[in-house]
Each structure stands twice: as structure tokens, then as C-alpha cells.
């Protein structure tokens, strides 16, 4: 039997408290106010007082509004019918598709995977972005953040990867996404014809802040189910800093002692419990996570990127509109380079980066007013070609084509004895 409670005794931030008994920790409720109905979740029990975080926010809630407890924790619909659909931050469809009431529902934020049922990652996810595929390849079950200052085209990059990546299912979790950005994602996926393998959970910047908290959990719960069924799932999250900020708001409303810049002491565990959903199941599918983490003030020691860096398996830095070749790192890359990909991959990667570092040095030297030598000229040319053919985010190339283009670029600028590559690969791949 569902009982309604209509005496809200406390409203503080987006937290409300009602006197009620027989309520379970983590249970879901609806709060009906003049503004409409919102979901809420029990986040603390104290004697007969029940504290709830109201996903639509507490603005406009009156002490006489009604709270109905639903008797179960937050759930989300699951099934193949989700493919191609778009949901809001509380899991309701916002496209014009049919309702999904008939689908089974799964709980979000489920238990963690038993570490002994994981396998060492071994799958390569081709994104057709050369700076990723060639220099820091994404490995199935990897979790990688894109560290980015405000104003960088991180959502363009995510959309490109979402369109091109060779995954079975792509799930986008938008957290505090600008409405324009959401539309861009949708249009991009529609035009690329990949909507049918895509599921979008979109919380936009104008939606209630607390709803942000649900998006990663819903996206990952759905991903987990597909993964268990043997699908290779790619989860794109943007922006996890907005998620952390929502957590900060709740923690402060609950009078929690903040640890660093107002973030709760549990920030690391909270982020880790989401990122650790990335997994390669022993005998089933996998979940790979690519997540934007915007860096306030372009500061990587800010608590959100800092904690993220300790959790994830590498990072991409997006600077000046391109993926920075130095500093970006995929920790798992050696598991696929030259094993899943072509044998020359590792050598091309190292040589091209080393030579690009030289070309940057040459640029700096010239900027300081030194004379230009003919050797400098070659490095400058190489630097330009490298930028146009590899770094430009618009470039769309498969891994083997990108490696071939790498050989071509090297050959246009250097002699074989200048590139430090094993002779057998020079013999095999150096363009005649």
C-alpha cells in the first residue's frame, strides 16, 4: 500500500525532510507540488525523519505538499527498444517515440564487478580520429577522460567518436549540457545514420541540478546490461565536472564538512564508483567510457580532474582545438599496439611524436630570432603536415590508412635513416 505524507518539515537546499516510518534507505518517492511532480530519493534516515533529495529542486515546494514513497530504488527501463531513444535526466523519453512501460526495469548504481571476473583488456576501439587511434588508442573497457578548458570543442570530438567508433552500442550521458549542444549531438547522430545504435540520456543546463546525479548511473546501468548480453558498449559522458558540482551542492546542503574547494570528502569514491563500471567481462561484452572533464581555470590540479586522473587509465588533453600529443596518454595502449593493430604501429607512433617534438623546438628557436636552416625547413614542413593530416579533428581516417599516411608524411620530409625505425619495417612500408 502506498501512503502519502503531507507534512514537509524541512527544506534546505534541494533536500526536504518528512516524518515517515517504514521507509527504506535509497527508496524513490515522488513529490507533488504546485509546480508539478518530481522524483526524489531517500538519502538519510534519522529516527522518524526521512531526508530526500528532490531531483527537480526544492524551489516552490510548500510544507503542505505531498510525498509518495514508491517502495523501490531508482530504476530505468531496459531492452533493445531503448536503441535510438532519447531520455531526460530522470529517465523519461523526450523524443516522440512510443512509451516504454512494458519494458522490464533495472536498478541503477548496482554492485561492482567481482575483480576476478574481469579479463585483461585486449580489444581495440577504432575511433577514426588519428590522434586517438595512432597515438593513444582507446582499448575496450578503458576509462579515459578528456581534460579540457572551457570553450574547447570537446562535444564535437565526442560526437565524432560517437558517430564513427566501432562499438555495438553507444550511450551518451549529457550532464548539464547546453541545449544547443544536445541538438548538435542529435543532428550529428541522425545525419550519420547511427541513431539506431545510440541511446541518449540528456540533462540540459536548464534542467534541475540534482537530476544531473542520475545521468551517469542510468547510462552505466543500461550499458552494463548490454555488456552482460555480450555487446561492446561505448559510453560518452559530458561533462563530469558538472556531475561533481551537483554532488558538491548536495553535500553542502546536508551540512557535510567539505574537504577541498567545497567538494565532499567522498569525491574520489563517488567518481570511481562510476568510472569503475568500465569493464571487459570474462565471456561477455565490454563497457568503455570516454568522459569530458572540464578543468575550471585550465587547472589540472583542481579536485575534479585531479581525482579523475587517479581513477582513469590515462587522459586526453584538448588544447587550442586539438588533442595535445604531449601529456595525453592511454595507459592501456601497449595492450593493442602491434598486437591487434599492425606491427609497424608502435614505431610509427614513437617516431612521429619524437619528430613532432623536434619541429616544435624548431618553431620555438625561430620565434626567439635564430636563423633558419634548411634542416629547420624540413621540420617545419613536417610540423604543418602533421597538424593538417593528424591533429585536425575533422580528419576521418581508419587506423591502417592513418599508418600509411604516417609513412607517406615521413617520406615527404625525411630520409629513412633519420626516423629511427627498425629496418624490416622501413623495407616493408617506406614509400618508393
Amino acid at each position: 500500500m502506498i501512503i502519502e505524507h503531507s507534512r514537509i518539515v524541512r527544506v534546505q537546499g534541494d533536500i526536504i525532510a518528512v516524518p515517515a516510518t517504514d521507509i527504506a534507505y535509497g527508496e524513490l518517492a515522488t513529490v507533488k507540488s504546485r509546480r508539478g511532480t518530481s522524483l526524489a530519493q531517500v538519502i538519510r534516515l534519522r529516527g522518524e525523519e526521512v531526508f530526500l533529495q528532490v531531483f527537480a529542486g526544492s524551489r516552490g515546494i510548500s510544507t503542505g505538499d505531498t510525498v509518495r514513497f514508491l517502495g523501490h530504488p531508482m530504476q530505468v527501463a531496459f531492452g533493445d527498444a531503448l536503441l535510438g531513444r532519447i531520455f531526460n535526466g530522470s529517465g523519461e523519453p523526450i523524443d516522440k517515440g512510443p512509451n516504454l512501460h512494458a519494458l522490464p526495469r533495472i536498478s541503477i548504481g548496482g554492485p561492482s564487478v567481482n575483480p576476478v571476473r574481469r579479463v585483461i583488456p585486449r580489444g581495440f576501439i577504432e575511433t577514426r580520429v588519428p590522434m586517438v587511434d595512432v597515438f593513444n588508442p582507446l582499448v575496450e573497457s578503458q576509462k579515459l577522460p578528456i581534460f579540457s578548458a572551457a570553450g574547447e570543442p570537446y562535444n564535437d570530438l565526442l560526437a565524432r567518436i560517437g558517430m564513427r567508433a566501432n562499438a555495438d552500442v553507444v550511450i551518451l550521458g549529457g550532464i548539464g549540457l547546453k541545449h544547443d549542444e544536445y541538438l548538435k549531438f542529435r543532428i550529428a547522430f541522425e545525419q550519420a545514420g547511427v541513431l539506431s545504435r545510440t541511446i541518449m540520456f540528456v540533462h540540459t543546463a536548464s534542467d534541475p541540478v540534482v537530476e544531473r546525479l542520475l545521468v551517469p548511473d542510468m547510462a552505466l546501468a543500461v550499458a552494463e546490461q548490454f555488456g552482460v548480453q555480450g555487446k561492446r558498449v561505448l559510453v560518452l559522458l559530458t561533462d563530469m565536472t558538472s556531475f561533481a558540482d551537483a554532488m558538491k551542492e548536495i553535500a553542502i546542503s546536508m551540512d557535510q564538512v567539505p574537504s577541498n574547494l567545497g567538494y565532499p570528502g567522498s569525491l574520489y569514491s563517488d567518481l570511481a564508483s562510476r568510472y569503475e563500471k568500465a569493464v571487459d567481462f570474462d565471456g561477455a561484452g565490454s563497457i568503455t567510457i570516454l568522459a569530458v572533464t572540464s578543468m575550471p581555470g585550465d587547472d589540472v590540479t583542481h579536485p575534479v580532474p585531479d581525482n579523475t586522473g587517479y581513477i582513469t587509465e590515462g587522459q586526453f588533453y584538448l588544447r587550442n582545438g586539438v588533442i595535445e600529443p604531449f601529456g595525453s596518454l592511454s595507459r592501456l595502449k601497449q595492450l593493442v599496439i602491434g598486437k591487434v593493430t599492425r606491427g609497424d604501429h608502435g614505431y610509427i607512433m614513437n617516431s612521429m611524436i619524437r619528430l613532432f617534438a623536434r619541429s616544435r623546438e624548431v618553431e620555438q628557436k625561430l620565434a626567439m630570432g635564430f636563423d633558419k636552416t634548411s634542416e629547420d625547413e624540413r621540420y617545419l614542413k613536417y610540423g604543418r603536415l602533421f597538424y593538417d593530416r593528424f591533429m585536425d579533428l575533422r580528419v576521418d581516417l581508419g587506423i591502417n590508412d592513418a599508418l600509411d599516411l604516417g609513412w607517406k608524411t615521413l617520406a615527404e620530409c625525411f630520409r629513412p635513416d633519420e626516423v629511427e625505425i627498425k629496418q624490416e619495417f622501413i623495407d616493408q612500408y617506406w614509400p618508393a
Partner: protein
């Protein structure tokens, strides 16, 4: 206190649950309690008592708990089960065998399932070592079984106080861990107490196991086969050290290398709040790797305690204590034990999360005020001891620290530095330059050099002095490098340049070690001595150069030869060839002594 104490839940705040017990019921601080969700029992620990209100930290997700649900108190402290069969196991923070859990739970960890830590059916060949009537104390050997590589003595229970007499001892034969193999009776004639001794026993994890004759000064080296550590900042058997470093500086790889190659009998790896992926590598690769010392699989000397970052926070706090207790137990068997805890910062954060929920007044960066004493208490459980049996055993502890923003001024790093004997500080600068392991020789230290002097000098007379000299060259080289940044290479004197080039050679071929190369990833003691002495010949050599260009060319050539040398198998043909080439440069033509 015959009937168990019951309580009724009055508040739930994440993993912190408050329950009320009846007036006058006894409750023990740190005792184990179970909170009930229907018929699922969630293990928890008493962490605060205020009158009838008892605060519990629950080791599982508390979703679904209600006010009014019941709690049962066990009357027992949180304890580890100790006995033969732990080697090769993969446990969670509460010592549940993870590989056994998988059978009925498929991919996910279901809450409320607790399995015995030791195989209940396996039979062990027991041999008695005492007779009826023998007087024994806690920790004395009554018999033994063989666990893989080692004889595994069966001890008089470690919790016993005073002297006991063997009343009954079972004959040699096959027994399970739960079978009684001896009965002891108290020598206190009034007490009339008896205890049954089984192959297994229990020990409360948060209590240091002080069952030994005396603690000894750690004065022998624990070889890690990492040159930078063994030569410049040696670690002692029974010593402690910490490895702080920003993310991406190579903590994990360094830990993995040490866990493979350290010369010790037993290795305990505590993966505390870190990535599951890293543990998976260890779990999947160790069984395939051969322990060079024994020829058996590396897993046969390893125990993994694994409470990764997405597993419950309260159990993360317990995991370090569980690991240390297992380590202390193997020390009681007279073994050399190494414990690697990765990372103690995550453990400290677990303390912080619980403290915040208990609304304790916070200290620096919201860590609880008792952070310092907790850290000290953990590291103090390491040590080398003379046991009641006369044998010695040691427990060495290496903890990693993950300082926020890579800043070593933060409380966990600072409080750890106060209590450890060696500090291996990883630097972002070195890792960015791909100089691995990125232990910064300018800031790291070891307090063990003096107390191990005698043992270190068995490597070579004046070893300690020579190392100091090499270290000074590195410092001088760095000074020169800094100067060079200001005045450019043109402004440098030739002598200074040579010092700089020498320090670069030491850095490239001794400090840097390639953890992905089969030869270079581990360097034996003998090779460390041999290669280092050659390097010192180079360092001591007075080169005479006519110009800076000549100096650079010559020294680059020398550096390349040393570089090739370090990748050659020790004492092989290539090794000898490069070595003699280096020697001929140092003794030969074109270079004269002043």
C-alpha cells in the same frame, strides 16, 4: 552475557548506521555486528558507542535498510582467519575469497555473502612436533604442515596468555583446517581452562600481533632489484617506506615490479581503493610468471587483498588491517614478508568519509584529527622480530600515497613521512622526461643506510662512501644543469660540463631502469655491485678533453656503451664485450691521468 545483544536501527546515513540497544547490554568497541535486510545479513563494525546508541559502519551498500530493522551483535572483534592455504588466494577487504564468490554470483558481487577464508575440505599432512606434557606459550610450534613452498608450523593460538601444557596432541595424519590437532590446558591450577588447537586460528585485525621475544633493529637489506632503491635508498628487512607521487608518475608499475622481484618469502599485495584493472593484471599474470628463486609460479608466494575503488568504502578501511594481520602471521612462521599497500591515501579517505558522517570535528583538509596516530599505528606493525621460538621473521611495509594535486604538503604524505624509514618521492618532472622509475634522487631518502652500514659494506668495502660520492655527483650535475639554463652551454667551464655529463651517465644507466625490458627490469645484487663499480671508475676518472665538443662526443660514446651494457644479460658475451670496451676507454689511449 549469554544471549547475543540485539539492536534496533534508528538512523541510516550511507554506510553509517545507528542502532539502539537495550539498557545495560554490553557492546564492545570494534565488535562485529550484522544489520538485517530481510534475511540478508550485512557485516558491520561498531565504531562509536554513545549510551544506548551504537554507531556501526556497514561494510556493504545499505540501500533498502529501514528504521526499525534489527541488528545482531556478535561479541567478537573483526578478525582474520589464519592458517595454511592463504598463499595464492585473492581476498576482498574482509578476507572473503573472491574466486569462490564468483561461482554462484556470476559477474557481480552480491552483498551479504561471506565465505570461509580457508578451504574447508582440503586435507593437510600434519606432523606433530611436541609431546603431551610440553609447556608452551602463544606462537610456539606444536606441529607443522607443508603449504606449497614452506613448512607451515601450526602454532599455539597467538591470543593465549601465560604458559600452557599440551594435554593431547594428534598423531601425524591428514586434517582439515577445522580439525582439532591438540588440546592445551592452562598451567594456572585455578583456571582449569582448556583450548582446542586447530590448523586455523583467528586474530583481531586491528590489534598488533606482539607475540615475540623482542623487536630487532632492521639491519639487513631487503633487495628489491630496483637499482635506484637498492643502491641509493636501500630498504631494510622489517623496515617501512612510502612512495608518494602524482597520477601518471609510475607508482603502479614500480609496485608491480617490486612485488615480482623483491627477494622475500611472502608478498602480500593490498589493492586498497585503486583501479580494478591493475589488480586484474596481477591476478591474471602472476600465475603465469615464474619465481626465479623457487621456479614455481609467483602466485605461490603471493596473497592479494583486493578492495578496489568501487567496492564499499568501510571495507576499504578494513583491507589494510587484514593485509597487515596476514603479514604478521607469516612473520610468526619465521618468514620474510613484504606488504605493498596501494594506496594508503584511499585508506585515509575512507577514514575521512566515515569521520564526516559521524560529524566529528575535522582536522586539516577534513581528515580526522586521529589520522596521524592511525597512520603511525599501521606502519609501526612492520618490523623484524625474534620470535618465542628463537627464529627471526620480518614484515616490511611499502605504502604508496596519492597526494591531491601531486602536492607532498598534504596531510597523508606528511604524516606518513614522519613514521617511515625510507621515502621514494616520485616526481612529475622525471616522469615527463620518461626517466623511470621516476623516484627523484634529489628529494628521496633512506634512514636505514647507517644502521645497515655493516651489511651494505659487504657489497664492497667503502660501499656506502662510494654511493655517497655518486649521489654527490648527481647533485653537482643538477647544479650545473640549472646554471646552464641561465648562462647557456657557452658560459660553462669545461670541468663543470664534464661533471654534468658524468651525472647524466649515472642517471641514464643506473637510476633509470626499464620495467618493460626482460633484462633491465630486475638487477641482482651481484650485478648491481659489478655495474656500479664500473660506473664509479668512470665517475672517478679524470678525463682530459681539449674542447667541450670533444668532451660531449666522448662522453656520449661512453654513455651509449653503458646503455647497451645494461640491456645485455649479465656475464654473457655481449656483456663482456661492452664492458671491456668501456674499460679500455677508461684505461686506454687518448685519455691520460693528470
Amino acid at each position: 552475557m549469554n544471549s547475543p545483544t540485539h539492536g534496533r536501527i534508528v538512523a541510516v546515513n550511507g554506510p553509517l548506521v545507528t542502532c539502539e540497544v537495550d539498557e545495560g547490554r554490553e557492546v564492545l568497541q570494534n565488535e562485529v555486528a550484522y544489520v538485517m535486510i530481510g534475511d540478508v545479513r550485512l557485516k558491520s563494525e561498531v565504531i562509536r558507542i554513545r549510551g544506548r546508541q551504537i554507531d556501526l559502519q556497514v561494510f556493504e551498500n545499505t540501500t533498502g535498510l529501514k528504521v526499525g530493522d534489527s541488528a545482531e551483535f556478535s561479541g567478537e572483534l573483526l578478525a582474520a582467519t589464519l592458517g595454511p592455504g592463504m598463499l595464492g588466494m585473492i581476498y576482498d577487504g574482509l578476507q572473503n575469497p573472491l574466486a569462490e564468490l564468483e561461482n554462484d554470483q556470476k559477474f557481480f558481487l552480491r552483498r551479504g555473502q561471506y565465505l570461509p577464508s580457508l578451504d574447508q575440505t582440503r586435507l593437510w599432512d600434519f606432523e606433530p612436533m611436541v609431546q603431551v606434557g610440553t609447556q608452551v606459550r602463544a606462537g610456539q610450534y606444536l606441529g607443522k604442515v607443508t603449504e606449497g613452498l614452506f613448512p607451515h608450523p601450526i602454532m599455539a593460538p597467538l591470543v593465549l596468555l601465560g604458559t600452557w601444557e599440551v594435554e593431547e596432541i594428534k598423531p601425524a595424519g591428514k586434517y582439515t583446517v577445522n580439525d582439532t590437532v591438540a588440546i592445551l590446558k592452562s598451567t594456572d591450577s585455578q583456571a582449569q581452562e582448556k583450548v582446542n588447537v586447530m590448523l586455523k586460528q583467528e586474530w583481531p585485525v586491528k590489534r598488533p600481533m606482539r607475540v615475540y621475544e623482542e623487536r630487532l633493529l632492521p639491519d639487513t637489506q631487503l633487495l628489491t632489484q630496483c637499482r635506484l632503491i637498492d643502491i641509493f635508498f636501500p630498504l631494510a628487512e622489517g623496515g617501512t617506506s612510502c612512495i608518494p607521487g602524482p597520477f601518471g608518475a609510475g607508482k603502479t608499475v614500480l609496485q608491480q615490479i617490486i612485488s615480482r622481484y623483491a627477494e622475500t618469502d611472502v608478498v602480500i599485495i593490498v589493492a586498497c581503493g585503486e583501479r580494478a584493472g591493475e589488480v586484474v593484471e596481477t591476478i591474471r599474470e602472476f600465475p603465469l610468471l615464474e619465481d626465479p628463486k623457487t621456479g614455481k609460479s609467483l602466485m605461490d608466494r603471493t596473497v592479494i587483498i583486493c578492495n578496489t575503488s568501487s567496492m564499499p568504502v568501510a571495507a576499504r578501511e578494513a583491507s589494510i588491517y587484514t593485509g597487515i594481520t596476514l603479514g604478521e602471521y607469516y612473520r610468526q612462521l619465521g618468514l620474510k614478508v613484504l606488504l605493498l599497500a596501494d594506496s594508503t591515501s584511499r585508506w585515509a579517505q575512507a577514514l575521512r568519509e566515515t569521520s564526516a558522517r559521524m560529524e566529528e570535528i575535522p582536522g586539516e583538509e577534513a581528515f580526522p584529527a586521529y589520522l596521524e596516530s592511525r597512520i603511525a599505528a599501521v606502519y609501526e606493525r612492520a618490523g623484524k622480530v625474534r620470535l618465542n621460538t628463537g627464529e627471526t621473521g620480518s614484515l616490511t611495509l611499502i605504502g604508496t600515497v596519492s597526494p591531491a594535486g601531486g602536492n607532498f604538503e598534504e596531510p597523508v604524505t606528511q604524516n606518513t613521512l614522519k613514521v617511515v624509514g625510507a621515502f621514494y618521492g616520485l616526481s612529475r618532472t622525471r616522469s615527463d622526461q620518461r626517466r623511470y622509475p621516476a623516484i627523484d634522487p634529489m628529494i628521496s631518502w633512506s634512514l636505514y643506510i647507517e644502521q645497515m652500514q655493516e651489511s651494505l659494506n659487504t657489497r664492497h668495502e667503502n660501499w656506502v662512501e662510494l654511493v655517497q660520492k655518486a649521489h654527490n655527483t648527481i647533485f653537482r650535475g643538477d647544479e650545473v644543469r640549472q646554471m646552464m639554463l641561465v648562462v647557456g652551454e657557452e658560459g660553462m667551464g669545461l670541468d663543470d660540463l664534464v661533471v654534468y655529463l658524468k651525472s647524466e651517465i649515472i642517471d641514464a644507466v643506473c637510476l633509470q631502469q626499464d620495467s618493460f625490458d626482460k633484462v633491465d627490469q630486475a638487477t641482482s645484487r651481484q650485478r648491481q655491485i659489478s655495474d656500479f663499480m664500473l660506473l664509479m671508475e668512470m665517475t672517478d676518472h679524470s678525463f682530459v678533453f681539449e674542447s667541450k665538443d670533444q668532451a660531449k662526443a666522448q662522453m656520449t660514446r661512453l654513455q651509449n656503451l653503458f646503455f647497451q651494457l645494461k640491456y645485455c644479460p649479465f656475464e654473457g658475451d655481449d656483456y663482456r664485450r661492452y664492458r671491456s670496451e668501456i674499460e679500455s676507454i677508461l684505461n686506454g689511449k687518448g685519455v691520460s691521468h693528470p
